[in-house]
């Protein structure tokens, strides 16, 4: 009798500590969708690069940029939608102090990435665009691990490693990009979905 109330006390402590310090509405499925969108974006990028109809370099850049932007927006929207749904289902609020802190920690490395990529593009130095996408994104995930499921840090570390490899083997950079943003996202999403559904 006594033991069970103490066990309940411990359960309460644990639950409140987790709920008040971590964003637990992140859905594993959003990782799966992000990965699928990345693969679709990759296929479209290959089509653009091999197309005869778009020959002007400026047009190719613009097409690739639009491709990347649409994919990013699609992945983010699905992720927000699924998190919102998970929060509703579990009876949690989505817009809390933790959500804000998590987003801030995500956005700082990502905006740094955007600045670097823009500079590389302006200097026509394309070699490090894909590596910096992977490395900065990986660091953003490591950063955010304190505010959501800790497992996301492993995904982040792998992205950083793939990014560094892609900086050395630049001829395979596009394939390494799809490995990081596509396949790893899907695997991570499936694992998390199974673990925390």
């Amino acid at each position: 009798m006594e033991t069970s109330t103490h066990a309940d006390d411990l359960k309460t402590i644990r639950k409140i500590m987790e709920e008040s310090s971590r964003f637990l509405s992140l859905s594993g499925l959003s990782g799966v969708f992000a990965g699928i969108f990345a693969i679709i974006g990759f296929i479209i990028a290959l089509l653009i690069l091999n197309s005869d109809r778009i020959s002007d370099a400026g047009n190719i850049d613009l097409a690739l940029f639009i491709d990347a932007l649409v994919i990013l927006i699609a992945a983010l929207s699905v992720s927000v939608f699924l998190s919102y749904r998970k929060a509703l289902r579990n009876g949690n609020r989505i817009w809390t102090g933790i959500t804000k802190r998590m987003l801030l920690n995500l956005i700082i490395p990502l905006l740094s990435a955007a600045a670097f990529i823009l500079i590389f593009y302006i200097e026509q130095n394309f070699r490090y665009i894909i590596p910096s996408m992977l490395v900065f994104y990986g660091l953003a995930l490591v950063n955010v691990g304190k505010f959501t499921f800790g497992e996301i840090q492993y995904l982040g570390i792998l992205q950083v490693l793939i990014g560094i490899i892609s900086a050395v083997f630049t001829e395979y950079a596009l394939y390494l990009w799809v490995l990081g943003f596509g396949i790893l996202h899907i695997l991570y999403g499936l694992i998390m979905h199974k673990k925390y559904r």
């Binding site: 006594e2 033991t3 103490h6 006390d9 402590i13 500590m17 008040s20 310090s21 102090g97």
Partner: protein
């Protein structure tokens, strides 16, 4: 002398036998500060209930209150005192001991 301290600790620890007060302390262990509304939503209690428990913890100096203005709205934040942290930790130890004994 140490018996005296122990007794004081035991009495403070008793304060945490209440679920709401235990919840407040747990949340403040992992957050530097929390405002009234965040605590209210987290613990799912009424205003009056939460306020009375906060007052009790404040009276025994386990938590500190900081009142600020955000624009024109008053915003009350709560944080643990050093004593509060110690009492929470010793309360956890006590629970652990009791569970081991069984």
């Amino acid at each position: 002398m140490s018996a005296g301290i122990k007794e004081i600790m035991n009495n403070l620890s008793k304060l945490l036998e209440n679920r709401v007060r235990l919840g407040i302390m747990s949340a403040l262990m992992v957050n530097e500060r929390l405002d009234f509304n965040s605590l209210k939503e987290l613990l799912d209690v009424t205003d009056g209930n939460l306020a009375s428990h906060l007052k009790a913890l404040e009276k025994h100096e386990l938590i500190r209150v900081k009142k600020q203005f955000v624009g024109r709205k008053p915003n009350t934040n709560y944080m643990l005192t050093n004593d509060g942290k110690k009492v929470f930790e010793s309360h956890l130890d006590a629970i652990e001991q009791l569970m081991k004994r069984k």
